[in-house]
Symmetry: C2
Amino acid sequence: MLSDMNDLPEGLSTSEEVSLDELQLSQRNHGMQLEGLRYDVTPAGMHYLLIHFDVPEADEASWRLAIGGLVRTPLEITMANLRARPSVSMPVTMECAGNGRARLAPRPISQPWLTEAIGTAEWTGTPLRGLLEEAGIGDEAVELVFRGADHGMQGDVEQDYERSLSIGDAMREEVLLAYEMNGAPLPPQHGFPLRLVVPGWYGMTSVKWLTSITAVAEPFKGYQQVAYRSRQRPEDEGEPVTRMSPRSLLVPPGFPDFMTRRRFVDVGDHILRGRAWSGWGPIDRVEVSTDGGDTWEDAALGEPASPFAWTPFDFVWKATQPGEFELCCRATDSEGTTQPLDQPWNLHGFSNNMVQRVPVEVRAPA
Amino acid sequence: MLSDMNDLPEGLSTSEEVSLDELQLSQRNHGMQLEGLRYDVTPAGMHYLLIHFDVPEADEASWRLAIGGLVRTPLEITMANLRARPSVSMPVTMECAGNGRARLAPRPISQPWLTEAIGTAEWTGTPLRGLLEEAGIGDEAVELVFRGADHGMQGDVEQDYERSLSIGDAMREEVLLAYEMNGAPLPPQHGFPLRLVVPGWYGMTSVKWLTSITAVAEPFKGYQQVAYRSRQRPEDEGEPVTRMSPRSLLVPPGFPDFMTRRRFVDVGDHILRGRAWSGWGPIDRVEVSTDGGDTWEDAALGEPASPFAWTPFDFVWKATQPGEFELCCRATDSEGTTQPLDQPWNLHGFSNNMVQRVPVEVRAPA
């Protein structure tokens, strides 16, 4: 925690309100409306979105993916070639590594996510592994660097968006070069015409507008690779942010107040539904609390649409008395990791998976 | 202005930052990424979105539109029936009436739009007029009330979302009952399976998830009808918010800084492109300033894709010197109305059309 810091490092805010710069980011990079948790597959325009720079202009006919660096056969591949290769369609739950950041104190100043930076899309593409085998990764290569066409400035560094994966992670069978989302060409804002999809990992890994893959002999130290690490202090080396921590969210029940999103339901039985996921393994358990986390009961789990898609759950809430309630849910994955009630802090607000809290007013029958 | 108010009315903020409640709304109700101004028709997921309550669950097969009240022949219409009627496809520019609200001081507390609450979609549907003629509007009717399936609480009033139009406005030939957006079924968040589209008007008029149209003998006084009025003080009757004021926006040139969205370009000639629109008539003129509004030059106008779609414009900026610049543009419509440099204030921040300001750093060649 920061209690032992005398001066607040740059990039943190103790304000309980967000700046217009943060708001501006939030207007572009939107969350999923939480009622969207009702869908197995999120409608494309409702899926969360984080674009570091601008959505690039892209022409499918002239788009090329270059595979180079330490490979035996450098490749330059058209979209027609990619589409002619074996294709896989797979529902994948994706979450931004910064989801929940805006509820931390002090607050890391960046895209100010609350809870909504999630979505599940059915991605269609060709497995990356086939292309890597065709190119022939050299024995001296340790990582692949994925470059997107989105270009900009971040932390005073001018850059194309770039992220790397180890050869082992990149060769996993579920890793796709995707050209369709929910059965249609990728929308521009989701990477048209081509993006990487790395199931189980936070979204920054799934590079959009993919232009090149380069095999390199040293671990990649580019801006985004160094930025996405959990650290307590700016000078810490930190731990890389990789797979999604277990998390669960409820479809908010009843109906909302416009401004506060506080919910209203009537006295009676309510089936609470939600979704849970983890990048570390299947969801083993989801518990629901209707008293703000004091007591918990098990929810019933459904089947996920794929090993990398969220797991549906439901729970019958017997709301017998009018009053104010706070609904919560928490997931436990096959590694035994459970969501925390209080979030451990890190400098950039990554891998937040704090329990969601849904304030509800139960009303007496009219 | 509020300078003569001793106490700030409820619902206004003098903070230069926004609350987490406002942020929460901004996470759901997103703007269009401004680079999206490059498209004649906005990709569906990039179009701005304002949902007062929740996106309702909807089943096209069982959906019915009821036309009733003061009509000779009440109708209950299936989606199949609507789709079998004459259809029209039309690009329409739509803007939220609250666009720009978050830059006002004091700031009306509501969905905190900056500049991005816009979009142009190609809507396909059947003209409302044909259905109204079939139902036969009674002579005593003065307005039609349009009801959506979205339900919630606003200003302590539980409500379905409802808005009215005069019979004359509703009978205009461009008013559509739309079931497609950009050639596909409406996305859930844009009103699936059916919405009203009233070209030229701010978006609150184009009721989504449309369930009923009711002819009434008195002007409608429902919550949303009373809320969307321009007033200076809470006790004012105010003026109804109707058609879109003239506005223009630039595609931000060059590339951005992640956090601030400040732009970078190199010394040289840059073609600045943008779009301009008005709900009151065609765009007659767009001017561009590269010095923050001190001096202005005319941009070249292109042709809009329909009488209700934005007008493209471009302007060659000869950026001969490195330094800091502020780009602006302003539109004038056929009524002679021009965008203001300083926004006249109103209590809920409606019909804001203040000139956009785009900070750009021009860099010397490397």
